[in-house]
Amino acid sequence: MARTEPAPPETPPSDAPIQLLDPAGNLSTDDRLPLDLATVDLAALHRDMALTRRLDTEAIALQRQGELGLWPSLRGQEAAQVGAAHALRRQDMVFPTYREHGVAWCRGLDPVALLGLFRGTTLGGWDPYAHHFNLYTLVIGAQTLHAVGYAMGLHRDDSTGSGDPDRDTAVLAFLGDGALSEGETNEAFIWAAAQNLPVVFFCQNNQWAISAPYSVQSRIPAAQRAAGYGFPGIRVDGNDVLACLAATRRALHQARSGGGPTLIEAVTYRVNAHTTADDATRYRPAAETEDWAARDPLERLEAHLRSTGAVTDDHFTDLEQRERDLAEQLRAGCRELAEPNPASPFEYTYAQMPADLRQQLRAHLEFVSTGPQDGERQ
């Protein structure tokens, strides 16, 4: 009985993802997703993608040097993240996973702050309200419900549908393809649909959830999930920054205007292993990775910029300098990240420390100050 997993059912030929910029850097248009190029700052998109990649590369290096415990690389997903982030207004709230370094960058976070979580000096690292960018969430799918709740708050605050661009607000929730299978994510879709909430779900389908190919989660495109709940889903080339920008803009606009949720599937690829602790060669063929490398999102935009002359050479030289500065900032900043205070877990468990916990803290501090340092026990 040499049966294996059941054969995939016949699925209807799926819509090809919408593309506005092809791998060679040529523009195209698609009636389903119009984009007025006059409203797009190509140079800024390119700059943010390049710097995001540099940030990622540096972080990987820092991990190799033992400065970070772990790093989840976003390489290959720069277009999806930067495209989506450029569609945000200041007041929009973002709920990331743990891989949205590109969005964090565009939100204006100090990039060094991103390293603390992976260095083990903090579990958070930044003020989620200052940048309208929530902390990273490591529990797959959990943040999608927070996004829904925040969106419920927006509705109650009259922060949608007023027509005032500084007032109307939406929520942008990121998730991976694997996250589509968590019950909580699906509850988030259900709530968003039934209450017509101002939330955009941005799914980076990078084809893999650690070692699980997308086919383990589903045999139809992720964007179609939305139809089951009764709200629009759209599938875009996630390595095409313009398609990602256009789709997110439209969806956020609709959300802010009171038009309800959208699910965006950005079809992309996790070029590196899941994290620096993972070994992707154990589960996927090199050929696949190489194949996707040819669709690199950054090269694609650069090709476009160079061939059209949309930016001057200064753009590139200036960018090189910025990249070097960023790398330096990260290297120095990482090592200078403050060591956590041993009292901090106790201080931040409750708004006011309960008496019992205070006693535990007292004992702990005594132990920490006199105990392990001198090798002698008290």
Partner: protein, 318 residues
Amino acid sequence: MVKALNDGLRQALTDDPKVLLMGEDIGRLGGVFRVTDGLRKEFGDLRVVDTPLGEAGIVGAAIGLAMRGYRPVCELQFDGFVYPAANQIITQLAKLRHRSAGRISLPVVIRIPYGGGIGSIEHHSESPETYFAHTAGLKVVTCSTPHDAFHMIQQAVADDDPVVFLEPKRHYWTKGEVDSALPQPLEQAVIRRQGTDVTLIAYGPTVPVALEAAEAAAEEGRSVEVVDLRSLSPWDITTVRASVHRTGRAVVVHEAAFSHGFGAEVAARLQDEEFHFLEAPVVRVTGYDTPYPPSRLESDWLPGVDRILNAIDRSLSY
């Protein structure tokens, strides 16, 4: 007690426009126990929200609402239906203040009708307090009188930490005076009856049972002090120690299973901190280490007056 909770919630909704209630069947129906009766009519469907059927959704959305400045009071319909929300409660609600180094404050209340004794079917009689009390970052409280219900629910709503608010459903229909002027601090235990021979420690559903047992013991000439813990996390060991210091003996009563029930923690602390004063081991009178039985068996299965009296005897026999 239902009325006191309803009044307390009405007051909370009136006092702070950011307070909102959410849960299954709490609006149109007023809750399966009518705790939220009339509130949707009074405060509108945006503040008293009938949610879809999904407990993870309720707590997860409450977290998001709290991040947007609201103070959500969630109802989980029964003790046995909290588990789909366990992930949001344990990995998110309890930990976000810590994760964010104090930047995120989640003033979320989770109301749960809990405990047995009302002849219900499976999943409607459970006592999950250990799961929550063992989870750092949550507060856990329970009321045993209408007076406490009225005040404690408002204090829970006003608290900046997430509070699991356990409502002993078999006392929902208990009547009692509510003195609206006299709230006790939320985290403080209360001595419900003074005594000198043994300290009986109870909370929520078992407080009236403990008082009844104390009454019966009195007839046999035994003076039993009854402490109502009210708050389970943090818990007021100071009041308990002071009492045990006087009596030298302690009996803990709860409906939750014996092993790893709240009584274990009480016993562990007392044997440590009152080692020289305890004249007898701390005795536990609790549910058994089985799932909650079919309702025809519950009255014997639950800790009742007789079992408590036996325990008092045992304690005094040392």
